[in-house]
């Protein structure tokens, strides 16, 4: 696949040297090492940590933020940011819960999909056609959507019993290794988005639009269409997250997931994706999500209080990122 022409630089440094730098230069080594380290430490700290049940718990606790973080990754790859994504998912849960009686399970899902996609399309149109800063646009829709959720829910919460809406709460697995379908959805969303970003033209255009917008424009990429599609996709993913959320907590609550935006951005940044666009991957985001989940769970298992957990999480996240930087700097 690769041709070395005779004129290129001699590519023959001693093997031992090369092997090491090759590993350390991979963008995800840092976060991955941090994740593995955390797992090892907590396994020693608590005998319960590595049990199938507990690992399944960590997976379940990561479902909603994990799914939303995929969408956030794609938006950030275009040099954007989405502050409204959590609010869209919350509105999605409320729409599902309130329409399921009259419209039925499938109907409720479709209505929620339409609503989420419509909001995504509004974000996308403002960002692409009017070239407004995504921060302001999504802050605006965040405020508006959150208020709309409150008004629509009449500030009440809605328990959900429909088997279709809570479908992703069901168990599956083999022997002691059981988890919920929601974890499966999480995995599938990651695989699909990974494929789209890496193996399709649309994915390449996402990187191009974020990496060098002028160049993307010059090469004839339809920037507006790419951005619009990205925000619409965000709406779709938010709807999936909403559905999975009802599987995990069968209750639609306008006050839920208020920190989802910050949480998803944190997962994305820990995963090594640049906030300036054009660089990063969803795999990093998955690792970032898991790091946060493992810390939260592990610190509880070893009996650390919330207040100290917050401090510890902050410090450990900084360490994880620092580790990454240092590993990469050694090879520069």
């Amino acid at each position: 696949m690769t041709t070395t022409t005779t004129d290129s630089i001699s590519p023959a440094p001693p093997r031992s040297h090369r092997d090491w730098t090759w590993v350390a230069r991979q963008p995800l080594v840092g976060p991955l090492a941090a994740l593995i380290l955390a797992v090892i430490v907590f396994s020693i700290g608590s005998p319960r940590f590595l049990t199938p049940y507990n690992l399944s718990l960590i997976g379940q606790q990561s479902i909603v933020i994990g799914i939303l973080a995929v969408a956030q990754t794609i938006v950030i790859l275009t040099a954007g940011i989405d502050l409204s994504i959590g609010a869209i998912a919350v509105l999605g849960t409320i729409v599902m819960a309130k329409t399921v009686e009259s419209a039925g399970g499938v109907g409720a899902l479709l209505i929620a999909l339409v609503v989420c996609v419509a909001i995504g399309a509004v974000n996308g149109s403002l960002v692409s056609f009017l070239r407004l800063p995504p921060f302001i646009v999504t802050l605006g829709t965040f405020t508006a959507v959150a208020a709309a959720s409150q008004l629509y829910a009449g500030s009440a919460t809605y328990p959900v019993t429909s088997p279709l809406l809570t479908f992703f709460g069901q168990d599956f697995g083999v022997g002691a290794w059981r988890t919920t379908l929601g974890v499966g959805v999480l995995v599938i969303v990651y695989i699909v988005c990974f494929y789209v970003l890496r193996q399709t033209a649309g994915g390449q255009h996402v990187y191009a639009v974020g990496g060098n917008p002028t160049a993307a424009r010059f090469t004839g990429i339809k920037i507006n269409r790419t951005l619009l599609m990205v925000y619409i996709m965000t709406g779709v993913i938010a709807m999936i997250a909403a559905w999975a959320a009802l599987g995990r907590i069968p209750n639609a609550d306008p006050n839920a997931y208020q920190t989802a935006n910050l949480d998803t951005i944190t997962a994305v940044v820990i995963g090594g994706t640049s906030l300036f666009g054009g660089r990063g991957s969803v795999v990093g985001t998955l690792i970032g999500t898991l790091i946060v989940g493992v810390l939260r769970n592990g610190l509880t298992l070893i009996g650390v209080d919330n207040l100290y957990q917050n401090i510890a999480t902050g410090v450990l996240v900084i360490l994880a990122v620092a580790f990454d930087q240092i590993a990469r700097r050694r090879t520069q």
Binding site: Q61, R178, T180, I249, D253, Y257, N306
Partner: protein, 313 residues
């Protein structure tokens, strides 16, 4: 959600009893008091208390995660100030199925029998006390009411708000409500909100506040506008700062709640369960007490001296 069952029963006999406490947030002074009281009680009883919390009011996901992790950790009992919703019920059910005793503190679940027992205040009743006092103080004047609310959709917020209106004898949406603003229970936001409200309704004469920080912010704005004489303001909480403010005349009256009492009762119940398997049950009202130095006839109240002895924080 959630799956499987865990071997959460405490196998080691030598270890301390482990008690989990889950509050709505870990920054609200009210919950901080509750946490501190629980810690103290646990230390006294030789139990280990792990204190967790949601990230914000309404963080169901955070509370569910906390329940799951505590069960996985192997606690004997969980004390929880549940969020508004029924959202955490299935997680509570799984915890109970795993042999953990679950007690609601401060706020009842819906339905109440989703937990083993409840040690709580009736927030609606507290709101009614606040409303009755304001109405009594206004006397024959037609109320022109400004409301400094908390967070839209919070259960406690709704209970207090509705209770207040009931105590005042005002229907929701009545024209006597001259303005409402959300303050998130934050003093700064409350001050800004009151400043702006007073610009719109300069002749307001009654103010409802969701909690004492909101009342402090409200007072700041009212006194800057020189309207302290004209306006009657009350609050709910019963923190020592709040009672001080009542004593200083900044707040007309406050309704005291007793977080420490709830926490002590809760911890005791879990420890007892660990010792002899007795489960607590039922709703146990820990009470609400109107505190003011300007009593209204026909309304039970205590003065600020009593308040300062019994306040929290």
């Amino acid at each position: 959600g959630g799956s499987g069952t865990s071997g959460s029963t405490n196998s080691g006999g030598t270890a301390n009893v482990k008690v989990g406490l889950i509050t709505k947030t870990d920054t609200n002074p009210y919950f901080v008091k509750l946490r501190e009281a629980a810690k103290a009680e646990a230390a006294k009883k030789g139990a280990d208390l792990i204190a967790l919390a949601g990230k914000f009011d309404g963080d169901n996901e955070g509370q569910v995660t906390a329940i799951e992790n505590l069960v996985s950790q192997g606690v004997k009992g969980i004390l929880i100030t549940p969020n508004s919703s029924t959202g955490i019920l299935s997680a509570i059910k799984q915890a109970r199925d795993a042999g953990v005793v679950v007690i609601a503190l401060d706020t009842a679940t819906d339905p109440a029998n989703a937990v083993d027992a409840t040690f709580a205040t009736d927030n609606k009743q507290a709101g009614v006390f606040q409303g009755k006092w304001v109405k009594g103080t206004l006397g024959s004047k037609t109320p022109k009411l400004l409301m400094l609310d908390g967070t839209p959709g919070g259960t406690v917020d709704d209970f207090r708000h509705n209770g207040f209106l009931e105590g005042m004898g005002i229907a929701a949406g009545s024209s006597e409500i001259a303005g409402m603003e959300n303050t998130n229970g934050d003093q700064t936001k409350a001050q800004t909100a009151m400043e702006n409200l007073l610009q719109r309704v300069p002749d307001a004469n009654a103010v409802y506040t969701i909690n004492e920080p909101a009342a402090a912010g409200g007072f700041q704005a009212i006194s800057a506008a020189g309207k302290t004489k004209q306006i009657t303001m009350a609050s709910i909480d019963g923190s020592c700062t709040g009672v001080q403010n009542v004593k200083a005349g900044k707040i007309g009256a406050t309704v005291m709640q007793f977080p420490a009492k709830m926490a002590q009762l809760g911890v005791d119940a879990v420890v007892k369960f660990a010792q002899d398997g007795t489960k607590p049950s039922g709703f146990n009202d820990t009470g609400a007490q109107l505190i003011t130095d300007q009593p209204v006839t026909g309304l039970d109240s205590k003065d600020t001296a009593w308040g300062l002895q019994n306040c929290w924080g």
